[in-house]
Amino acid sequence: MVPLSEVLVWSLAGVLFGSLISWIPGFHIFNIMALLVAVFGVGELMPVQAFPFFAIGAIVAYAYVSAISSVYFSVADESAVFLLFPTQRYLLLGRGHEAVLLYLIGAVAGTLVLVLGALFIFPKVLPPIYQATSPYITYFLTAIVVFMFMSEWPKEGDRGKTPLQRLWLAWRQILGGILVFFLSGLLGFAVMNTNLLPSTSAYTRLTPMFIGFFGMSWVLLNILSNPPMLPQKIDDKVESSIYNTLKASFGGALGGTIAAVYPIITGGMGALIAGHITSQRGDDAFIISQGVNRVIYYVGAFTLLFLPNLRLTRGAAAWLVSSVYTPKSYAEYLAAIGVILLSAGISFLFTYYLSKLIARSFTVVHIRKLSYVVAVVLIAISYVLTGPMGVLVLFVSTAIGMMAAAFNTRRSYCLGGLVLPVLISMTGHTGEVMRLLGLG
């Protein structure tokens, strides 16, 4: 382990790095870290043993600061024909800063749950539970996918004139979701199992696909919809209750933990499950639970890399870091927990003041202009990491991401890009599917 002073320096550098890029829409810390490693390498810039601490600082910053892009730079268009996220609704009401504060309440709760859990519960409880359940991960994963399809709530259908018309209106949306899932899955399968992308980009081959599904499609919607830039209130006031906060924190922690511990299950999937289990309702509760969920999902998953008696590699950042250096000692685990607390404090302040600044100057620069710049940067990242074919993958996945919005269905169906090929692989059918698709 590097000396504590270096741990401190590199983790602070990570927080600074994460804070500076995480508020930009479409940027994901995993992609930027991959870019950093691809372009500069690690050993030359910093000691390899310091890389996990740099990464944890950056991930904590991302878990906090990304609230800014979720709230302020995912603006709904004026007609708002699509269903809106609660944060978008807050923004349309001029209450963007309040949404950020609600998120921060959740993020702080998530950090406390994570730190207390990491100190007193995870080392004892996680290893045996994980050992007992890990052989059945495919079962859980399949079950979640089936549930996603079965539980899609038809948002239309009530007003059809005949029963058949009502049925069609409802199922149009459900079938749209299934189509998005399978198209994403096919793309993911091709990206993972063919030489579509260069072998030199082994660690980043999924990056352009995910940028397209979630980042680029989001940015493109901002450009196409030309959203109104409404003045925002900057009062430090939130409308919620202690009960809602506690309930949302509990649900968020549950969903985040499930997603952090089990592979392929993402924060969104975890939130879906936990939302049902704890029966959550209310925009305030949703935003708070998102804060808890994202901290535990991103930071918690990465922390598992440090847990000496478990040492799970969860998430792209963990894979990237473990390819350079894997922490080994309990001292590193404790240091990581300290870094989480320190980084969370700095990230909280950064997010809070940045939110005030953006809320105050929200109407100065139109989101559309910023979105053009981000779109170009996202294409550049894809090109640098995966070459021209990566840009092609980016375009295809962006189209699929846009389809999810057009069908008014869950954006999380795009996770089929990861889930479907992994399921096919886990059940040993990759060869058959390759032959079926004429790829092998």
Partner: protein
């Protein structure tokens, strides 16, 4: 219970069969079928049954614009008729003639905190003018707060001005002609009158099903409204609420009092089986069946929420059918553990039925042997976080417990009973709290039912001159 709670019960049911657990370890994922079977009743009801259900009355306070899928719908004046009374629309046209401008007196009914009616008379500024959209002419009226808003929006209203007006359709009491009242919501009177009519018809005819649509507005927000059935007063009252987000956060005030309440009298006895009003906002509006029934020796009309829900799909009989179907299919396909999978699927579906029976609605448990719904145990509402979590946690615990006891060597080297107790204590506490809470709710319902009974007796005495 919520969907995932049922679903996870099916997942857990499968883990009680060592053969299925062993298959899962080998990557055979068929036991997921038990979870699908557990969710099947809600899947059938909400993805199919709902759309085929009969609707005797369809209340649509604010019809959607067909392209944008939200209200208000932009209509032509010639399309409007008496049938549209109280519905919320938008009309675009030219101000043809200003009839009156100034102040006037408006009389309207409001309700106090106890639901008592009060008549209020107020002086308001107003404007009345004729709007022409090329297909016809209609009298438009804006009063009070709506007049203020109207002027802020359009400035001084002058003849020849082109405007887009939102409001509800009404009928002039004197000349019986259509008029258009500027507002930001439909008038609730139409909803109240239709429900009252349905209750009266149900008393004479046996059953009427009412579908109440919600009010979706631009920006994915909803005008919330409440339906109160007040059996003692024999009234249906509807109250327009604020505009809310799908998450239930109010983003406006309620409409002004002069168009907030709709009250309709009902001439037949009816009872409400659940002691809370029906709230309509996001997702979709409810269906309510009004059915003639016997209540303590009297003929009354009873309400049943979502009549297409908790029917045959939520019966133990359906569980047997699912089990037989799964067995037949997988036996044909040559699956070695078809019997266990069928049993797990049947148990999963039965768990769904049992879990729902803990709530209010209840189910017809063994059709065709049983003919009617057996009331629920009233342990908690379907959306209760406490009962949902307690049940889901219990199922997660069962899964971990089963995975552990069916694996050699055991990953968690603790005795079975001790491990189970260590895992399920949160559920035990959760159910304990839910049971204590349910006593309060049961007491509330019992008091309400007693009240109905005594009120009936009071009415009879009054009829024969006893008082």
């Amino acid at each position: 219970m919520r969907g995932f709670t049922h679903y996870i019960s099916g997942l857990a049911a499968a883990t009680f069969f060592p053969s299925l657990v062993s298959d899962l370890r080998m990557g055979i994922l068929l036991p997921v079928i038990a979870a699908a079977a557990a969710y099947f009743p809600d899947f059938v009801d909400f993805k199919f049954g709902k759309f085929f259900a009969r609707r005797d009355y369809e209340i649509d306070p604010a019809p959607w614009d067909e392209k944008k899928h939200y209200a208000p719908k932009l209509v032509k004046i010639k399309e409007l008729s008496e049938k549209n009374r109280y519905q919320f629309f938008a009309i675009e046209g030219r101000v043809e003639e200003i009839l009156t401008r100034g102040s006037g007196t408006v009389t309207y009914t409001i309700l106090d905190e106890k639901g008592e009616q009060k008549t209020v008379e107020e002086e308001y500024n107003s404007i009345v003018f004729i709007l022409n959209d090329g297909t016809g002419r209609i009298t438009v009226e804006a009063v009070g707060d709506d007049y203020k808003f109207f002027e802020e929006e359009f400035g001084q209203i002058e003849e020849g001005k082109e405007i887009l007006v939102f409001g509800y359709v009404d009928i002039d009491e004197v000349d019986k002609e259509l008029r258009f009242v500027v507002s930001d919501a439909p008038h609730p009177q139409g909803i109240a009158e239709t429900i009252a009519k349905a209750i009266e018809e149900a008393y004479h005819e046996g059953e009427r099903i009412v579908k109440i649509h919600n009010i979706r507005l631009p920006g994915d927000v909803y005008r919330q409204f409440f339906v109160y059935l007040d059996p003692p007063k024999r009234e249906v009252r509807v109250e327009m609420g604020p505009i809310v987000t799908p998450g239930g956060v109010a983003i406006t005030d309620k409409p002004p009092e002069y168009r907030r309440y709709g009250i309709a009298k009902v001439s037949v006895p009816f009872i409400k089986t659940y002691p809370k009003p029906t709230r309509i906002d996001s997702f979709s509006g409810p269906e309510i069946a009004f059915r003639r029934a016997e209540f303590r020796g009297k003929t009354v009309v009873k309400d049943r929420f979502l009549p297409w829900h908790h029917g045959f799909s939520h019966s133990l009989t359906m569980g047997i059918i699912i089990g037989a179907f799964v067995y037949a299919i997988f036996k044909l396909l040559g699956y070695n553990h078809a019997g266990d999978l069928a049993l797990a699927s049947m148990i999963g579906q039965w768990l769904h039925v049992f879990e729902d029976q803990l709530g209010f609605m209840g189910s017809n448990l063994l059709p065709p042997i049983t003919k009617d719904v057996i009331p629920g145990f009233k342990l908690g509402e379907s959306g209760s976080g406490l009962t949902n979590f307690s049940t889901a946690w219990l199922m997660i615990s069962f899964m971990i417990w089963n995975f552990n006891r069916f694996t050699e060597p055991r990953p968690i080297p603790i005795g079975d009973a001790k491990l189970l107790l260590l895992l399920i204590w949160p559920s035990i506490i959760g159910f304990g709290i839910a049971i204590v809470r349910s006593f309060k709710l049961r007491k509330e319902i019992a008091q309400l039912m007693d009240y109905y009974t005594n009120l009936e007796a009071f009415e009879e005495l009054e009829e024969v001159g006893g008082i």
